[in-house]
């Protein structure tokens, strides 16, 4: 029963992928080709990374609204500096640092995550505007070729790296502790889990993921924009939810969130090829979100009833 909830992300992804395939083929008379897959891969990467970081935070029972600000700031810096490798390293470190600040405030300042990150969202967004008042900037072509090459699926390698990162993380003591903290913080503390350290780390990782997402973003779009991060706040949360990660913490998997992120991207395509009136488009996206989660809980409920 719980398995089903855990696999919600994969189920939703499978369903949307099927729908995508169907509407694409009916609409264009041929199945999607390598161009489509590559484009999906490259445009989804940033959201996949942000959702990955977001899911880590949500697994500990927190939430990170500041991803929007961190992405904006890191996009701004990457684009403003042209994204030379040295700068990329600096940007990723800065992202982790921004996240760490969140984590320290949440863990040691004992301020609720949603509030902390709401405040830092504003701070980081301001900083992004300061760095890059006008959209623009550039990225070193070599970096682009390595990160999100429009002709070669280099993104796959990075995606695999992200998946592997999660796989390893899940198998470290830290991974266990993430779930422990999300499951019951007081109890975790009682059995010796260094709750504060785990939290601080998780937010730092979220910041790091957001920074990586920012680098990919710039690599894909070849320029930056100080408001680039804003949409990631709600879409990363939506990915996490569709991915079956429980907001109460302790349940779900980052891979579910990754699947959720891809599913959310595919929904755009489904709506595109289904020819939805643009004015009504958000209606369908809203419905998709609710229905996906509803199906998940409904299926879990059914399974539980059958098991009982």
């Amino acid at each position: 029963m719980r398995d089903l909830q855990d696999r919600l992300g994969y189920l939703v992804l499978a369903a949307t992928a099927l729908a995508y395939f169907a509407v694409y083929t009916t609409s264009l008379g041929r199945p999607p080709g390598s161009f489509d897959y590559l484009a999906i891969l490259n445009t989804t990467m940033p959201l996949v990374l942000v959702a990955l970081g977001q899911s880590l935070v949500v697994l500990t029972g927190g939430i990170d609204l500041s991803v929007g600000g961190v992405v904006s700031l890191c996009v701004a810096i990457t684009a403003a500096t042209g994204g030379a490798p040295g700068w990329i390293v600096a940007v990723v470190l800065l992202g982790a640092l921004c996240g760490l600040v969140n984590g320290l405030v949440v863990a040691y300042g004992r301020i609720a995550p949603i509030l902390t990150t709401l405040a830092t969202l504003s701070v980081y967004t301001g900083a992004a505007l300061w760095v890059l008042p006008v959209p623009g900037g550039s990225i070193v072509p070599e970096v682009r070729a390595v990160l999100s090459n429009p002709n070669v699926p280099t993104g796959l390698g990075w995606l695999a790296l992200a998946v592997a990162g999660w796989w390893v993380l899940r198998r470290t003591r830290f991974g266990l502790r993430v779930y422990a903290v999300g499951s019951d913080e007081t109890a975790a503390r009682a059995v010796g889990v260094p709750v504060e350290r785990v939290k601080a780390t998780v937010y730092a990782l979220s910041g790091l993921c957001s920074a990586a997402a920012a680098v990919f973003y710039v690599a894909t779009t070849t320029a930056g924009d100080a408001n680039a991060g804003a949409p990631f706040i709600l879409t990363s949360i939506a990915s996490v939810v569709v991915g079956g990660v429980a907001f109460t913490g302790g349940r779900g998997s980052a891979m579910g969130a990754v699947a959720g992120a891809v599913a959310l991207t595919l929904v755009i395509d489904v709506l595109f090829f289904a020819g939805i009136d643009p004015l009504y488009q958000s209606l369908f996206q809203g419905l998709f979100l609710v229905v996906a989660v509803l199906l998940g809980t409904g299926a879990a409920l059914l399974a539980r009833r059958r098991a009982a």
Binding site: R170, R171, R173, Y179, A180, G182, S183, A187, V191, G250
Partner: protein, 483 residues
């Protein structure tokens, strides 16, 4: 000396939990901490094991420490295996946790400590309370500590599991460890402890090798209590208050019985035989798949949720006061008045004065929080007083039927005594009472009649004052004649 505390003081907000408390325990002994609810036992343990800091005084503890806290510290979303091996999971190459091995390894640990019947793959939240306690204890035992603190380890355990734990405690002691535990069951202290330290109001009042129950209670409370169980033989059950027929729900199978006014009906049996389902279903908090109930006379109506049950004159006092009873950071008054809000309101507005009066009255009657203001948060009360606050809520409802589910768990001797008499008074007033306790002895001592449950069915009914726990236990394990 392995464990020494001298002159320890610790306050929570305005509450002085420990004041100038001293304590010492040596290797190779089982040392019990006794005292009323709120005497400071748990606080002392937390100070000793380093979970909280003392405000004043010094603490020395030598050796590896392991603690089972009073509030269970299992992680509900983790599996039993993950819970057990959180600190030292099996590792493979690169030092990564071998997730495939977790369950096997945990099974090994569980069987090494003789804890059977727990699936290591099951998430902790799906376990019955007693199973949770067992897992928690295995986690502590498996650390093979030099100093082990067990804060009310038996509160959720049935007799059999208590024996199991006793065995391990003795083994640890014999191996030279220092075992410190607390309990409100004098029998256990008597049976297990080499020495007892009694606490009162945050201070140690005595440390003895030999102590009778009466002496202990006098030390703990500063007064002497009368007979443990009130005499209920004079109470004559009257008309039917609750009729249950063919009730099937969760683990429960076709349970039928009648409960009369003035009757205290016990529910016995081993732990986890569906007692919890019975109580929850009768209160409308569980969905029956077959059968039903009718509550006395004109007030009878369909019970689909607790609200209906309350209207039909049924009250349910739960065992787990933190999860099911109290709203910890709301005031004592809000907590006590919660089930009877509508009664003291006009057009949806609360009649504040009436409410204050009613709550103060019942709080004084039950001696909740020793005269503390009812405006204080319920979370500041000690365990026993919290339980009394929950009782008070239901006494205000004037219900006809009281479902009392393990209401004395983790409650001190004096409070227990008060609660027993409260129950008898209720029966005398013509209330019908369904009573379950994880201490079978209480059922034996307090009830007119006992239903013994096994695998969700009533397997026997014991009439008349049963007197001793053994009869009930025997009925619980004996194969039914027709099986």
């Amino acid at each position: 000396m392995t464990v020494v505390a001298t002159g320890v003081g610790r306050a929570f907000g305005g509450v002085q939990a420990l004041r100038d408390a001293s304590f010492a325990a040596r290797p190779g002994e089982i040392h019990a901490l006794a005292g009323e609810n709120g005497a400071g036992k748990s606080t002392l343990i937390k100070v000793l094991c380093g979970a909280i800091r003392a405000d004043t005084g010094t603490v020395t503890v030598e050796g590896r420490i392991a603690t089972a806290f009073q509030e269970l510290s299992l992680l509900p979303d983790l599996t039993v295996a993950e819970n057990l091996l959180l600190a030292a999971p099996p590792r493979g190459r690169l030092g990564l946790v071998r997730r495939g091995r977790l369950a096997d390894e945990a099974a090994l640990v569980l069987s090494r400590y003789g804890a059977t019947g727990v699936d290591p793959r099951s998430p902790a939240r799906d376990l019955a309370v007693s199973q949770k306690q067992v897992v928690e204890l295995v986690r502590v035992l498996a650390m093979e500590p030099d100093v082990v603190f067990l804060d009310e380890p038996t509160a959720a355990l049935a007799e059999r599991e208590v024996d199991w734990l006793a065995g391990h405690m003795r083994r640890l002691r014999d191996a030279g460890a220092c075992v410190i535990f607390t309990s409100h069951r004098w029998r256990e202290i008597e049976r297990l402890a080499d020495r007892v330290t009694v606490f009162r109001n945050g201070t140690d009042v005595a440390t003895r090798e030999r102590l009778t129950e009466e002496e202990a209670i006098t030390l703990m409370t500063g007064r002497t209590l009368g007979a443990t169980y009130p005499d209920i033989s004079g109470i004559v059950p009257g008309e039917n208050a609750l009729t249950v027929s063919g009730l099937t729900s969760g683990r429960l199978r076709e349970v039928s019985f009648e409960l009369r006014r003035g009757e205290i009906l016990g529910v016995g049996g081993l732990a986890g035989q569906g007692q919890r389902d019975l109580f929850l279903t009768l209160f409308g908090a569980g969905k029956p798949t077959a059968g039903g109930l009718s509550a006395g006379g004109s007030r009878a109506r369909a019970v689909r949720q607790p609200r209906d049950a309350i209207r039909a004159g049924i009250a349910y006092v739960p065992e787990d006061r933190k999860a099911e009873g109290l709203l910890l950071h709301l005031s004592i008054r809000d907590n006590v008045a919660l089930a009877t809000l509508a009664r003291r309101s006009r057009a949806g507005f609360i009649r504040q004065r009436a409410e204050k009066a009613a709550v103060s009255g019942i709080a004084a009657k039950l001696d909740i929080g020793a005269g503390r203001s009812t405006a204080q948060a319920a979370g500041t009360l000690s365990g026993g007083n919290q339980q009394k606050a929950v009782m008070a809520r239901w006494l205000l409802t004037d219900a006809d039927v009281f479902l009392l589910y393990d209401v004395t768990r983790g409650v001190d001797a004096a409070t227990k005594h008060d609660i027993y008499h409260l129950i008898a008074d209720l029966a005398r007033d013509g209330k019908a009472i369904l009573f379950y306790s994880s201490e079978t002895e209480e059922i034996a001592g307090l009830c007119h009649r006992v239903l013994v449950l096994r695998e969700g069915r009533i397997v026997s009914e014991l009439r008349g004052p049963v007197g001793d726990a053994e009869t009930i236990v025997a009925a619980s394990i004996r194969e039914p004649a027709d099986a």
